[in-house]
């Protein structure tokens, strides 16, 4: 792959990412399954970079999963999103930082719909006002939180204690980057680097010392695909997509998978467990599975955060092989202890733990 060609494409997809004063909206999946990710983001932005980030406890789900599952109508989801914008407007913010790629896709789709069909915007204003008495402004700047980490990737690199380098061999770690479909595949202009050769995650991996791998099924769906999973009878489609993707990346011997979408992270993580249970197949080296990390988790590791504070133990595929390669010291006994030292129940069948 020629870098000059990728750079030319990236130059065409540079979006403006606000520098400060964000209205932050959480992700349903991320705050449940990878709680350390959002925690790292808020801590990094507020305490390391000194930025102003506000979140409102009245913020709700965007209903994106219901929308893509065909149970929430468009008018409803537009009104829910309008309410989020109203919360932002009432708090005096103009920049929105969105933690979830599904939500990010929903927001971009709705804003584009309003641009092309102004009548829909007026109807939404009316619905929201009748239901809640609220009014709203459309955000002046809309960024996914991976855009924001991308923007500050060099600041993270400057603070790196554990660059993405195999401590034993000195070689860069081999990174699979996987963006969520709804990040830029619907509207490439909203994604850093566009849809075909996105730069948002590869830019981070390279800035932190890793080597990004291009493999044949790089653009393929993680396997979630909403209805492919949500309708139980379709789950064979879901997992067979994941098998196709991992079969394709395996020969490249990746050290980790880096994602920016909650669904992708969840499915590329958990389906590895399922595939291993179903047919005994693993995709990492030495019979191990490949750790799947969010960009905040990876940034945290690079900056020297404790892996268990980042919540890596909540993944199905445990990250020990990666931690060893990066030369990160950790105590496996602390994995499932609370902050005040109480032992939590231990999960069975942890993958990648000897």
């Amino acid at each position: 792959m020629k870098n000059e060609g990728r750079k030319r494409i990236w130059a065409e997809y540079q979006k403006e990412i606000a520098d400060d004063h964000f209205f932050y909206v959480r992700s349903c999946i991320r705050q449940s399954f990878f709680p350390g990710s959002e925690q790292f983001f808020l801590n990094f932005m507020r305490n390391v970079l000194g930025k102003d980030i506000y979140e409102n406890p009245s913020h709700t789900t965007c209903t994106g999963i219901g929308y893509h599952g065909d149970i929430v109508p468009l008018a409803t989801i537009m009104t829910v999103v309008a309410r989020h914008f109203a919360l932002m407007t009432e708090a005096g913010y103009k920049n929105i930082a969105i933690s979830c790629v599904t939500s990010f896709g929903i927001y971009t789709e709705i804003i584009e719909t309003w641009k092309h069909f102004p009548g829909e915007l007026e109807k939404t204003r009316e619905y929201l006002y009748k239901a809640t008495g609220r009014e709203f402004n459309i955000p002046e700047n809309m960024a996914h939180t991976s855009d924001i980490i991308y923007k500050f990737r060099n600041e993270i690199a400057e603070k790196a204690k554990n660059p993405l380098v195999n401590r034993q061999t000195g070689e860069p770690l081999r990174v699979i980057e996987h963006i969520g479909c709804h990040y830029s595949k619907m509207f490439p202009k909203y994604g850093v680097g566009g849809a075909e050769f996105p730069h948002v995650l590869s830019g981070m991996a390279e800035a932190w010392g890793g080597e990004v791998i291009d493999y044949p099924e790089r653009r393929h769906c993680c396997g979630f695909g909403f209805r492919q999973y949500l309708v139980q009878a379709n789950r064979g489609y879901s997992i067979s997509n994941t098998v196709k993707k991992f079969d394709s990346m395996k020969p490249f011997k990746p050290d980790l998978v880096l994602t920016n979408c909650p669904g992708c992270n969840m499915f590329m993580d958990k389906w590895q467990y399922t595939i291993r249970e179903m047919e005994g197949t693993t995709y990492g080296e030495n019979g191990e599975s490949i750790p799947v990390l969010t960009y905040e988790e990876l940034a945290g590791l690079v900056m020297g955060y404790n892996p268990w504070d980042l919540g890596l133990q909540y993944h199905m595929v445990q990250s020990e092989p990666l931690l060893r390669k990066m030369g990160i010291e950790f105590d496996g006994q602390d994995k499932f202890k609370t902050k005040d030292g109480r032992q939590m129940p231990l999960p069975k069948n942890l993958i990648n733990v000897v």
Binding site: M1, K2, G5, I9, G194, E196, F197, Y215, P216, F252
Partner: protein
Amino acid sequence: MITGNVVVVGGGVAGMEVAGQLARSGCMVSLIEKESSAGGHIKEWHHLFPDRRNSMEVTDYLARQINHDNITLLTGTTIARMGYGKKVFTVDTENGKSISADAVVVATGFDLFRSERKEEYGYGIYDNVITSADLEVMFRNGEIKLTDGRRPEKIGIVHCVGSRDEKVGNIYCSKLCCITAVKQAMELKEHLSDARVYCFYMDMRMGGALYEETYRESQEKYGINFIRGKVSEVGETIDHKLIIKVEDTLVGRPLRMELDMIVLMAGMEMSKGGEQMAQIFGLKTGENRFFAAADHHYGSNESNVEALFFAGSCTAPMNITETISHARAAAAEVICYLRKAER
């Protein structure tokens, strides 16, 4: 014989032909070409469809056409400004020349679609993804090889790159790419008899003289495989083979195939030079961004500006036969206009 000064903008096939025709009729012609020599795209092409004659034969003909005392060829020249008053154009060039003309012919041709804009095909990113124009250069050099020097064994030809594609803003058909693909597929087989060649097409548009016959020959005599489906993406395997995804719409199944080389049939677009002329001369353009002729049926050389005419593929994709015919028609229009003006 007729008298009059004419500026012809563009020294490709159309510009050279119209200049030659006008000069032979008695006009004094200034032929303006932005490149260092006249000839246009055809200079880069090796063989021409449908009969695969050497393109040099046509360029030699065109060179003879403009070898006339009445023609001043100004290469490396672009137009900066234009004024029109009292039935006379004043054309100022970027390098400080000022030319008076009774009529102007715009023959700015086309630009090849920049294939890197179809990001999913990986042109400029993956080795061995090339364009139809790149392949002609290889034909001319007499050697078809991969970047590592090996001979390709499996080659895919992708039709409609930048044509009939709403995503890139070109909904029109470039018209020449299908027959170019057929010609190049046959030539590939002539160079590499063991190679397997696959054409991925949406529709085979074989509307020109001898096109359908050539298409049939390519299948019966050369064994070219035609697969009806649009390539959705190109990637690379661990051993640096190209891998494509495509739907075979006749079989109704998705298809994945490893290839050594991919040739992209780049479509035609309004040229950058043409866009500049549209601004300078205030010329109307159509939805396809090519110049809009005054009438599709009986005024395809006439513009919205008095005494300014179009010749060739600056108005729509055309093959060389059509371009030369259109250029001759433009010359006839200019002569007709100058005669009327004389009266």
